[in-house]
Symmetry: C2
């Protein structure tokens, strides 16, 4: 241990190695409700890719398991290290290296946060359009989890905006993948393979991101519906209608009241409409032109009414921002209310109704309370499960995730498998695919030093 510490200090400098009791416990946990933190033996804070490569070499020589850490906001325990392991924290690699306005590209270090990037791009009239709900998340972390968020219905997810990477392989080589272009057919797409790999294939030391013009006009429409069926029936009509919504979120009653309470919000929806509502849709539109936006909001309102909405509430400016922030904070609301687990399943959009229909029976069978909201536009359902009994909770999760898989969906849309969903991943995924993924893992990381225990267990 003293040996390793000295070797690491030679790489990053004494003051950037934390060891033993000097390691703040924060470095051992993320925001997952299901994975207990593990304090690592060592933390290093490298300054550049060369240092990261040298750190991996030291780790390789000493057989030390290595876990990358961005901001620790992950929801699957993927940043929780192995006992006795080494955490590589990217907090010092936090520079926005370039905003290339001609190329509409940003080149950033992994420790830059989403909020920082948003501020920097705004100054150029550009935007990185991926907004997972937590602005303090690091770009490195969002790349490693393939983070999604509310804009995915229009913009896709992190994967669709990462044009290139600099990454350090566990074998110590620094590679660059992709570049400032959207098109390439030049060998296997290593960029896409590393995106979403939860720190198990390579450590990301630089990211080239696709930006687009920031549209100046935005409006939201909140529509109470009589029940969940009406909401799920409305979703494909709204995505297919040509209005191209930026946000298309579903919020059930339980989630709506938790969110509103947690944020101290009142949107002025009259009590009798609230009482008659069974679920809400929130649709946000964006446009270059204020007139076109007004027209589109009008059209949207008519569509929603035609689809059974009890009323429509148009929100802009501050109230809209507050509602979006409150919705993004749904996780905190759920946690504060005592939720025991969060579901991040995806089902094909057209199967949302069948998924929601299955939920109450599962809740009843195991005495759980289940409520939630979700990225309805892309079939990504976030449910909060309240059931403090561990066994019963496990059964609820088993059945919910199996239901999503059976409907042709997937068990994690954006949070990742991490340490939390390994059991479900291995139980529900085709063993031939898992075996193939393990072989791919070995092709990157023959000694298995990168984030062992994540993904495959």
């Amino acid at each position: 241990m003293a040996d390793v510490r000295t070797a690491l200090a030679e790489v990053v400098g004494e003051e950037h190695v934390l060891a033993g009791d000097a390691v703040p416990p924060e470095y051992g946990r993320d925001e997952s409700l299901g994975v207990t933190g593990v304090r690592p033996d060592l933390v290093v804070r490298p300054a550049d890719a060369g240092q990261v490569a040298a750190v991996l070499q030291v780790a390789g020589e000493h057989g030390l398991p290595v876990t990358a850490r961005g901001s620790g906001t992950g929801l699957s325990g993927a940043a929780v290290p192995r006992p006795g392991g080494l955490v590589v924290s990217f907090e010092r690699m936090n520079q926005i290296l370039e905003i290339d306005t001609d190329g509409q590209v940003a080149v950033v270090q992994p420790g830059v946060t989403l909020a920082e990037l948003d501020e920097a791009t705004a100054a150029h009239g550009l935007v990185y359009p991926i907004f997972p709900g937590e602005g303090s998340a690091s770009i490195g972390g969002t790349v490693a989890t393939n983070a999604g968020g509310m804009h995915a219905v229009k913009e896709g997810v992190t994967r669709h905006h990462v044009l290139g990477l600099e990454a350090v392989l566990p074998t110590g080589e620094v590679i660059r993948t992709g570049g400032r272009y959207v098109k390439t057919s030049t060998g296997y797409d290593l960029t896409q393979l590393i995106v979403g790999s939860e720190g198990t294939l390579a450590l990301v030391t630089e990211v080239t991101l696709r930006l687009r013009a920031r549209l100046p006009h935005r409006a939201g429409v909140l529509a109470p519906f009589p029940d969940t069926e009406a909401v799920t029936a409305a979703v494909p009509r709204l995505t297919g209608g040509g209005l191209d919504p930026l946000v298309l979120e579903y919020v059930d009653l339980l989630a709506m009241s938790a969110i509103m309470q947690n944020a101290g919000l009142d949107l002025g929806v009259p009590q009798e409409i609230q009482d008659a509502a069974g679920a809400y849709l929130l649709v946000v539109l964006e446009n270059r032109s204020a007139d076109r936006l007004d027209e589109d909001v009008q059209t949207l309102g008519e569509q929603l009414a035609g689809l059974g909405a009890a009323d429509v509430y148009v929100l802009t400016g501050d109230p809209l921002r507050k509602l979006i922030t409150a919705r993004e904070g749904a996780f905190w609301a759920a946690r504060n209310a005592g939720a025991n687990a969060i579901v991040d399943a995806v089902v094909p959009r057209a199967a949302l109704a069948r998924f929601f229909a299955a939920v109450p029976a599962i809740a009843d069978r195991h005495g759980a309370l289940i409520g939630g909201c979700g990225h309805a536009g892309d079939g990504n359902v976030h449910l909060s499960v309240f059931q403090p009994d561990e066994d019963a909770l496990a059964k609820v999760m088993d059945e919910l995730l199996a239901a999503a898989a059976e409907l042709g969906g997937t068990i994690s849309g954006e949070h990742g498998i991490g340490r939390e969903k390994i059991r479900h991943f291995l139980a529900l995924e085709d063993p031939a695919k898992v075996a193939l993924m393990r072989r791919i893992k070995t092709s990157f990381d023959p000694d298995g030093i990168l984030n062992p225990g994540v993904l495959f267990g």
Copy 2:
């Protein structure tokens, strides 16, 4: 050989095995200018994934190299088999299995052509927005090459629209990847790894594609510019201006006259403007609303004039379709004019000017004539190189591709490496990445039966 033939006939039926002299030579070639066809010993035409798996098993047992074949329109020799090899032709797996209008998804077999899919989606008011220039190309081929085309500036490329695959591994397992959703963080993205892998990792037997609403209104603007510098300077202004062009193509004088002549087109550009033109930009806009389109065309015209266009010609309906078709046929025009090679390099959009500035010197140095057109909006440059001398041609290609790589670009944007660009790939790509790709190849195909000689040589 008789053994293998019998074994294959047992799988696909006698009438779907072609052998020896009965193999039409077409099965041995694609449209690459640089790779000579090789007639395979055997061709099979499987009917389903089960048959494909059984064929791969037979091939594995007999150590037969296997090359998948879609429509043979590829431009890199990737569908050219090994001498003595087996071609798996997907011509019988040509069914559109489903157009899911609620999910905005198409599920198709790999032998479906782009033109067939376009007709089928049109009937539902939907579109698969990826239009590489050849409608007879198969979906399987476009997935394997990650085909691009003119819409990439707005829509991205094949990769961004493939949501899921059914694929047969060289080890015989049939796997399903992804699904009818845009979001997933559930292990490594095998879909994205197989897309663009040129038939070297797995055979694709079903593809799930993302569709979108087909917009009814479209207009093109053709703008002659005094010179190439003015064109390249205009490109980032047009992509960043918020009009979101569907097509943003650059056509130089040589290409323009070849295209027009080949298509027998006359766009009514007055002779004195043609004489003063140094290059053309073609911009196409699309909209849900005819009024908005008119407004946008107006704005675009003003932008183009401000950027130095000598004039603007608005085209809609039939003339626009004809010009697009003529541009798509640029390859035929170049081939008919005797081009010896086609460049498919990509440079960052902001480096286009520097790339174009380098071309004339390279042409001069080796006595070549170089002209072309390209997907300017995404930095993908197609040049036709006229130089019948093999050595001089090789030098031109070396220098052009090296120039693209040096500018932070890539040697193939959409045609792939195939057999044609292996030398350049191995010379210009980081050896650490090539070694990693070889290990990935082995993790799929331990015995190297899938398309040996493609990509890695």
